[in-house]
């Protein structure tokens, strides 16, 4: 990861002020620590999502407190709740409107698999319309579970070949 180098660019004026790293590490470091969520609150999971944003659980500790209701300004869509077939195209459109890089957390049983709604009206898992990075179990999940999902997503983002993707895009 990021480490100070003392033997590179020896110059008494900048000694100790030069840090050498990979572009991936720097880019991913920036991305992981300011991951602005798009709160796709569709059902009761959204209440837990609000709790995560509150002072007690405080998602701000992970740099993700800036809930953006505009897909243009968000990085991570948190699908919190039951996605009906009627809502599915809108969820996909909002995902399409988010600027890359973008990630998706499927929060709770309904978003992950349709949950207990084995019915004609419910999309059987949001991964059928958008690529999901992290699934969270629970009905609804505890706030800690969502924080854990966010940390797992951050760990995933840290491993991404960000520079190569940026150059190839």
């Amino acid at each position: 990861m990021v480490s100070a180098s003392t033997d590179y660019g020896y110059d008494s004026k900048v000694e100790g002020g030069v840090i050498v790293s990979r572009a991936d590490a720097a880019i991913n470091w920036i991305r992981t620590n300011s991951m602005w969520p798009m709160p796709m609150g569709l059902a009761c999971c959204a209440i837990e999502l609000m709790a995560v944003g509150g002072a007690r659980f405080d998602i701000a500790r992970f740099g993700a407190e800036v809930m953006r209701f505009s897909p243009r300004q968000s990085d991570c869509m948190i699908v919190a709740g039951t996605v009906t077939y009627k809502m599915a195209p809108q969820v996909r459109r909002i995902y399409d409107q988010m600027a890359a890089p973008k990630w998706v957390i499927a929060m709770g049983a309904c978003a992950s698999s349709g949950g207990m709604y084995r019915s004609y009206a419910t999309l059987q898992g949001v991964d059928r319309i958008v690529p999901v990075d992290v699934y969270v179990s629970g009905c609804p999940p505890r706030p800690e579970a969502l924080l854990d999902a966010l940390m797992k997503l951050q760990a995933k983002v840290r491993r991404e070949p960000a520079a190569r993707r940026l150059l190839s895009a």
Partner: protein
């Protein structure tokens, strides 16, 4: 108390006959009379609140197949609640009933829901569109022949359907519908759960399309 308005209703509309009911007074009326009966109940018997408009599907081949049911409440006279049922006219597949939006504007959404779920056309309704399912959905889900899991059809939003390669599928019932064991004192046992777990999301039910994942 209830006898008063029932007696008044019967003397005015001799066609109204008692309907078996476990709780509130209920009457059966012919479909042609239902508008007049409801207007009478609203204007002369103070049933000012339309609680619900719903329907019964008596199963395929039954005659009549559909019955529309109106629930009325009086907010000015305590304990006055009446259920009015009328057998639907029309064919099995295209039942019709008169709209009561002229009497209670609140009937608008009730009738739209009833149309959405049962396919009953309310004549005179100002805006009879689906209210729960999306426009263009080809079925009426609360009809008896419709399976709870649903039927394969196109996703609303053709562009999204094409982009994701996804469609509406019959939900994997996975041994469901999920049933709660009422009276079970062990709460984790009492939770709603599928009784048959021999197949699931990963193990497709024989003869059914497995769930398709999103195109990357």
């Amino acid at each position: 108390m209830s006898a008063e308005f029932l007696a008044a209703l019967r003397s005015r509309f001799p066609q109204a006959v008692d309907r078996a009911s476990a709780d509130h007074p209920a009457v059966n009326v012919p479909l042609a009379e239902v508008g007049a009966v409801l207007k009478f109940l609203r204007d002369e018997q103070a049933f000012d609140l339309l609680m619900d408009v719903t329907a019964i599907d008596w199963a395929e081949g039954a005659n009549p197949r559909f019955t529309v049911v109106y629930h009325l409440l009086s907010t000015t006279r305590a304990g006055s609640y009446i259920r009015v049922a009328a057998p639907c006219g029309g064919m099995d597949e295209a039942p019709v009933a008169p709209s009561v939006t002229g009497l209670w504007p609140g009937a608008n959404w009730h009738e739209r829901e009833c149309y959405d779920m049962f396919g009953i056309r309310f004549e005179g309704h100002p805006d009879l569109r689906r209210i729960l399912m999306w426009d263009g959905y080809p079925y009426h889900p609360l009809r008896k022949e419709f399976p709870l899991a649903g039927i394969e059809t196109a996703l609303p939003g053709a562009d999204v359907a094409e982009e994701t390669g996804t469609q509406v599928v019959a939900a994997p019932m996975a041994g469901g519908p999920f049933v709660a064991s009422s009276g079970e004192m062990n709460l984790s046992e009492a939770e709603p759960r599928a009784k048959d777990e021999s197949w699931s999301d990963r193990v497709a039910q024989p003869g059914q399309t497995p769930l398709r994942q999103v195109k990357e």
